[in-house]
Subunit: 439 residues, 4 copies
């Protein structure tokens, strides 16, 4: 098994980046991303796309419309002279949180909208597609247009992941436990995965984060800056279902001492007893996946943990979560060797005992870090409405790194900072252990 | 304009009754009711049928499945030997509140179910239709079967009304304000409706309620019994939009003295300022209807009031709501002259100044009474699961009488007791005034 | 054991009535009622008087101030020329719900007020006492003044009962289970109480309610009017702890079929398993009382039931709650033979097997009726602020009759209508069974 | 005006530290801290000490008992052979959150306890005082005992601050706005404070945090470790009321763009328009203080801000909050020159234009930092119950530094980490600005 080239080397060349000097047309990337979104929606029934199962999630229909609204609002309205929208109400309905451009339909009520229908939303998408392509055919070279288009494409890719996690949450609450995507063909489990190995890092100043001219980067990844890391070691691979099940079965969810105070309160209020999509049936552990319910495979990376659960597990084994900068240092020479969304397999792949270590920094499951989501020194959100994209959410959220089986290739990059509140369980999120070493 | 014959004379002969000795087949009534349900659903998109806009309402898809479940559960499972359900999970998903036959999917989460899809629900309906008809072809004469079938048909007719009120609530919350049924062709308003006239009744003992052998009656209408009424008078017609608008515009929603304490708290908490589907646009009063948004017609009976609003209005004009028995006495010689659901016009019809008075006891709008929903003396719910149909809801609800434009003909009968909590606004409910006279 | 004279004969002569033509001074009754309030408060610590344990209850300190505010607001401000309040803020702080006279401190936040202190509240009481007595000395004969004073005294007596029930609720939530009043000296239990006897009433029109000139009556008791009662029978005595315990121990709180739908939802949401102040300790049933925790005595009337529990118990034994008019007819010739507050024993007395039957219509425990709290035909609230006293609460509440061990003598009268929402458990409320007979 | 010696030099010699080798007796420090607690409670009425105004705050009575429980639980029960508690129930009632030693009375219900009364709590305090002193007289030299005693004294000092902030919150909600402590004698304002000056720091690795042997330090301040700081500058003094008022009056609370998304949601949900204890009266800005309501002095440090408000203000002026490490570096050579609790003036002191700059890092107001409360590298909570003291709260809280006018002298130290959730407004918290400089 040959290891692919490291993530640092490859990410600059990815589809959604616009840093190159040759300026290839944006029409193809645009078509590809838009098509990928359709592909995710296609296997679903219209009914699946209407429901909002909790405030934090949105109906797939809303995602489909919002990602088109983004291009309408920030590209068509600004770059097409005399642009007329097919439906002005959409500007209100499908604005997510950009107060700068106007008021929004109340977020917890996104699931109250039966109209526009799925068919009408697809028509809206086609309208936007045509208008954007017509525009690009005319002025593909416009620097500002390319900048906004690039954000729009990355934005849509982020929503592709949310479509999957949100619809999974909807369907998982249905006693019929529907399978919506074709099953992956995994081999049978080859026995247990060997104990995790550890990789040591010495103390020192390291550079982390990105500069905007590294290729497309979100503002929250910038600027590149220095941090000091005390000596630490980090696990060679993510924690597995096998390991996490030991925590579950030893009573981990009944013992206060492993948990943050807020985590323990959440465990008790919500009655958590195991990861969200696990359940017991006839004495076996099962899990719900987008490919239908299956037996819990012990050799898979554990998935759909909250920060609270990841943190508690780490404490239980005498370790901790890495900081986002420890993770970034350790991942800098790693390759993308986990499953990502482009493979259309929306579930982490089993680990292979023969796999070269370290492994799976990128893909399969997002990895919770112990870092609160805060601005980097010198961080400045862009001017205008897109300044609302990231900065204003830097509170009470924790950073995840590395990308998951539902992440588009270009987002599974070294400096990408995903972030969610610590109680969030519905993302494809697991963990990798770390430990502080004596200085 | 000739008045139709009185309600007392006609209701015994209606479709859903089974009291006759000739025992006509139930197949045709069954087909007719089931077909009427389909007709209501047909103009809607699948997306419209998924959403639950509040705990008290259900998705149309759920109503479509639940009314079929009712026949499956109480007819097919009990009367068809070796019956096999096409999908056992439906017995859990579509049980509304019959604890006797098993646990239920949590009511506030009925809108979380994308599956079965609308198409699958229709398939389930067809399956149940076929099985019931096959059964009826075999043993149409079975008395117990006929009894349950009759309840099932009346049950489905009740749900037809809820489908309309529930989907109206869903659609009204959508800024696109969709029109889903063809508009009625009302003439233009002919000016104001004359002041209401009053009809006096002397004190005395009257008989109210029904006996089960009067034709089909729900248990809560029985037994027929005596009540004493002090002298009263009752209005010849329902309160109009014109009259209610005067209350709104005189500041009725800002003045505590007209309201019950709970009503006033609700007005303030919810920010009520006018009936639920009214709104102001460009200086005009508009209202949302299932036929789309229209100007508020002043000659229509006021509709979509809560008990709190009906009660406050009555107090404002120095009157009160009639009790359900006053209403019943006054309505006993009245005909069905208002709009009912069979006309497929889901909005009250304007009053006509030339109309013979009294009028509109039946149809157009349910009329709130001042009576709490309580058991009649000697009331006994039936044995078994169907005993949960009515009796257990006799708490904190108020009785409405007379039927609305969304009510099936057979439910718009003299002794029928509709009931809702006092804050409910989404039913087609208005009021008729009453006053106590000196003894 | 001789039975006292019947309630009908005695209530007209009670302390708080003002109907007599001799016009005895109101100074003594005023002093007596005010003194009785002090006596209730005296054994408590200041800390006991601050806490509001739920929205529906008020701190004792608030009751002490509010009952003085009532005289200040409706007597001193209206009858004393140039009256100056010692503290104008109290007009806002201690107005309960009289919107007519101004805004109020938010009810659920009555327990947030440490100031005025208990001492300051007592000073306020003395100030009001002095000013009222000075006024009465001057114009005791003024009819309108006497009318308001009489309401004020009855009002304060009502609050005396609430002081007891509210502070009991506060103290019961304290693991130290404090005893605050001296224990009653009950004899030991003499074995079980014989089965309940029944008294039959034939069908007919009866007169119920009061006329204002029967002596003091609240507006909600008026006017006297006719109702028709179908034949019924009613129990000779209240349900006992012994009987209710059988319901508890047979699993009554785990079986849906006995409960109203709202009741069953409440049982499950709140985890009810027995009456509110009962608990198990070392295998015995105990109950918390204002005299401290004691063993559950089986020969006492069951107490502190909600309407839901009373109704469920009645259904479990195949009976029902009486209507308020059935109760009133049956109680009309009954005497006050139960414990009332004047005895300073704040717990129901055991039944005595040798007691003449029927018994205990008045005193010991309020008896839930199946009647919703609605206006009598011809009911008219008084003009002005005192019109807010009763009428606006006639919604979603149920009537209790007869008075309890915490009720002042004058309130334990035939036509008195107490009322609480059906989930209320903290009043001294039990039940008496009734059954409909064949007509 | 001479500047006192820097904080680094002085804190090691403070009262509550136990690092010295001479081992002075702990009896005096114990008496002093316990006495200081009494002094805070003394001016209050018992009623003031009962109320819990929100879940996050506790009644003063509870603090008085809990700080005694701490010594009973961790000193007397562990070090006194055959110790018998005067009241075993207190072990449940006054345990705050130490799951290791047993269950606790539910936190949001601390204000539901009228018993033990204030007098009984003081008796409990005296009992504990006597028992502890007797113990110390016997074995003052025991290292482990001294360690726990030291934690207990620091713990009690922390609660002294909470007593003040919690009772202020209680009293501020009372329309009577009581003054409970004697007013400070501030001179009149001498005009506006000059613009803030800035102090620059170059990039580099700095050491932050404490080692346990620096004198008493909480576990969360340890271990001392290295961080890299990019170049920054920090303000010479805290933000003033004058400056913050400009934000308020320019509409800062109505403009989304200054706020974190969670902050903006909170502003709108809670209707925030200015700092919590400010109000307008007759056209003037006033503020509630523990010394009673006073005019808003513009020359005082702004106080009682949430993190959201501090962060929004900083963004409005184009600056940001310092990180806790920037703050620590800048404060390392600063003296304690602000007001602390030992002065019994519970309100920040006005700034003096003649004051040597930089100033007021310590005392007056806690300063919000932009740092999430996370463990330092190598952090390890102590074993046993006291391991629950700090570590489990490291989630969704932000660090404040420097101490306030309600902080005991020994807590106003360089490495002390105070922490609160970002919406908390009731602490004496303000801010000092910082800015990133180009590298």
């Amino acid at each position: 098994m040959t290891k692919p080239t490291s993530i640092r080397q490859t990410t600059a060349r990815r589809m959604s980046s616009d840093g190159g000097s040759t300026r290839p047309s944006m029409i193809e990337p645009f078509r590809a991303v838009r098509q990928q979104t359709q592909a995710i929606a296609e296997p679903l029934a219209p009914e699946d796309m209407v429901i909002q199962s909790m405030t934090e999630a949105s109906p797939m229909k809303w995602h489909l419309a919002h990602t088109s609204w983004f291009f309408e609002r920030f590209v068509l309205r600004d770059f097409v002279h005399g642009y007329v929208s097919p439906e002005e109400t959409y500007d209100y309905l499908f604005n997510s949180y950009y107060n700068t451009v106007g008021p929004q339909h109340c977020r917890p009520r996104r699931g109250m909208l039966s109209r526009p229908t799925v068919e009408q939303v697809f028509a809206y998408r086609r309208f936007v597609d045509d208008a954007v392509i017509k525009l690009l055919e005319r002025c593909d070279e416009d620097v500002e247009l390319r900048r906004i288009m690039t954000i729009g494409l990355n934005h849509e890719q982020q929503h592709q992941e949310l479509m999957l996690t949100d619809v999974k949450h909807v369907l998982s609450g249905n006693p019929l436990l529907p399978a919506v995507y074709p099953s992956p063909r995994d081999g049978t489990a080859i026995g247990t995965i060997p104990e995790t190995g550890w990789r040591r890092f010495n103390a020192g100043v390291v550079r982390v984060g990105a500069n905007p001219d590294d290729g497309f980067r979100f503002d929250n990844e910038c600027p590149r800056h220095r941090v000091f890391l005390e000596p630490f070691e980090i696990a060679d691979r993510p924690v597995t279902n096998h390991e996490y099940l030991a925590f579950v079965e030893s009573g981990g969810y009944e013992q206060h001492q492993h948990w943050l105070s807020m985590g323990w309160a959440t465990v008790q209020d919500q009655g958590w007893r195991h990861p969200i999509y696990w359940y017991r049936e006839d004495g076996r552990w099962r899990q719900y996946t987008l490919h239908g319910p299956v037996d819990l495979r012990l050799d898979e990376p554990v998935c759909h943990l909250s920060y609270f659960e990841a943190d508690a597990y780490a404490r239980w084994v005498g370790a901790r979560l890495p900081t986002e900068f420890e993770w970034e240092q350790a991942a800098a020479d790693q390759a993308l060797d986990g499953v990502i969304a482009d493979e259309q397999r929306y579930h982490p792949a089993p680990l292979d005992p023969r796999e070269t270590q370290p492994t799976r920094f990128f893909g399969d499951v997002w990895e919770w870090t112990g870092s609160s989501y805060t601005p980097y020194p010198g961080y400045r959100p862009p001017d205008g409405a897109l300044g609302e994209y990231n900065g204003k959410f830097m509170c009470n959220q924790y950073v995840l790194r590395g990308g998951s089986c539902a992440t588009a290739r270009s987002q599974a990059r070294l400096t990408y900072r995903n972030f969610f509140p610590p109680e969030s369980r519905w993302q494809f999120a697991g963990l990798r252990l770390a430990r502080t070493l004596a200085a």
